[in-house]
């Protein structure tokens, strides 16, 4: 109860430190979700519709990725980007640096894109295969056919994006490792909760938890509304 009251107080007080954390949480996960959808939806559609020799291998890799412990991905990204790592040694602005939001986005993209791709693939494979042929007979190019099939599978495709979002908005280990939980720079809701709990500020931690829950609820409802939207002219 104390958590709920404090959550409301925090929200109503417009605490700038809190809003910075919320903003960064959504910026990092939003950008990561954008890129994981950009990779995952076409990849899932391709795997669902095309038969090629290495398909089983790619799908096995994808399934592994779907269940991969996020903290291990965090570790890999950490080693990749650290000073002594293969990418960390390269000069240049395009390489994300450790303990920056960019590094967190990279880790979250890697965590979530297999989920988006895997669920999209399943959704696409659920579309009646003969429909594809009939769409082509109406004069669709391969791209138009793929798009039409994704539209048929849109409920599942939105679920894939929601699953991808769920996997990163609530994730702690990887963002802690590669972000470092630096106040005002890389502190997000989950890492803030960990910190406040450790400090014994249970009420603040619960307040942050409630805010996280509420915000991800709002995001999911929004995506579900998109799902129900009719795509007719």
């Amino acid at each position: 109860m104390g958590g709920l009251r404090q959550a409301l107080t925090l929200i109503l007080r417009h605490d700038p430190a809190l809003w910075e954390i919320v903003r960064l949480t959504f910026e990092v996960s939003g950008v990561a979700l954008f890129f994981s959808s950009l990779i995952g939806i076409p990849l899932g559609a391709f795997l669902g519709m095309r038969r090629f020799r290495a398909r089983r291998l790619v799908i096995s890799a994808l399934y592994t990725g779907m269940g991969f412990p996020p903290v291990v991905i965090g570790l890999l990204v950490y080693m990749l980007l650290s000073r002594s790592g293969p990418l960390g040694q390269i000069e240049g602005d395009l390489i994300p640096r450790l303990f920056t939001p960019a590094a967190m986005m990279v880790a979250q993209t890697i965590i979530s894109f297999p989920l988006v791709a895997g669920f999209t693939m399943a959704a696409v494979m659920g579309v009646e295969p003969h429909l594809r042929q009939q769409i082509r007979a109406l004069g669709a190019t391969p791209m138009q056919t793929a798009w039409a099939v994704l539209m048929e599978a849109r409920v599942g495709v939105v679920v894939s994006v929601i699953a991808g979002f769920g996997s990163i908005i609530s994730e702690v280990g990887a963002v802690m490792l590669v972000g470092g939980n630096i106040v005002g720079r890389t502190r997000v809701l989950t890492t803030a909760i960990v910190l406040e709990t450790r400090k014994g500020n249970f009420e603040l931690a619960s307040a942050l938890g409630i805010i996280l829950l509420g915000l991800s609820f709002i995001v999911n409802v929004t995506m579900m509304l998109m799902q129900g939207k009719s795509f007719d002219q």
């Binding site: 429909l131 769409i135 007979a137 109406l138 039409a148 048929e152 007719d232």
Partner: protein, 243 residues
Amino acid sequence: MSQPVYRLKSVTKRYDLREVLRIDHLEVSAGEILALVGPSGSGKSTCLRLLNFLEAPTSGIICFEGCDYGSNGSVPLDVRRRVTTVFQRPLLLNRSVQGNVAYGLRLRRAPDQQERVDEALSRVGLLALARQKGATLSGGEAQRVALARAMALDTDVLLLDEPTANLDPYNVGVIEEIIRELNRERATTMVLVTHNIFQARRLADRVGLLLDGELVEVADVERFFEDPADPRTLAFARGEMVY
């Protein structure tokens, strides 16, 4: 008859080494209605898939309006768009009836889409259902929507795979009349697959018999039914064929 739209030369189709279609020679003339009859599994639908360039033949050449397409060459989009099919088991997109009929027109960025959709739907008697969801239609309604969405495209060639299989006698009559009208008004070339030899007789200029993937005989409709060259055709036309 004018110049052929299709000319098939030594065309075969195999699935997993099993040959399901073998047509040594077949011509389809512009503006004609060619009926393909034959028992179940004889390769009729397979033949239509090849004619619509949905699958390539395993060997042989399909010559369409003077251009040869073989087992590996891809068929240009504008050529593919001159042919369409009404499938044996039509599947509609998960959108409204008019959305389904408009789909092929939207792909082509065709002009006057709404008018063409309305025209096609009123021909098949489904204008009232324009806003209904495709998934909620009855089998016969779905089949008529499938005819409407093909008809709206006004292609040079229309391939019809059992277009009246799910329909009541009244609607069979309606659809057959539409087929005749399209053929007459727009000179649409048609290949009609049917189990119903009476329908073949009512609609077709020529009839071909497929047996076990082999094109046994193609002849003018009168000839096919009255005086066929092959005894198997006679047996099939009389309904004596055992299969």
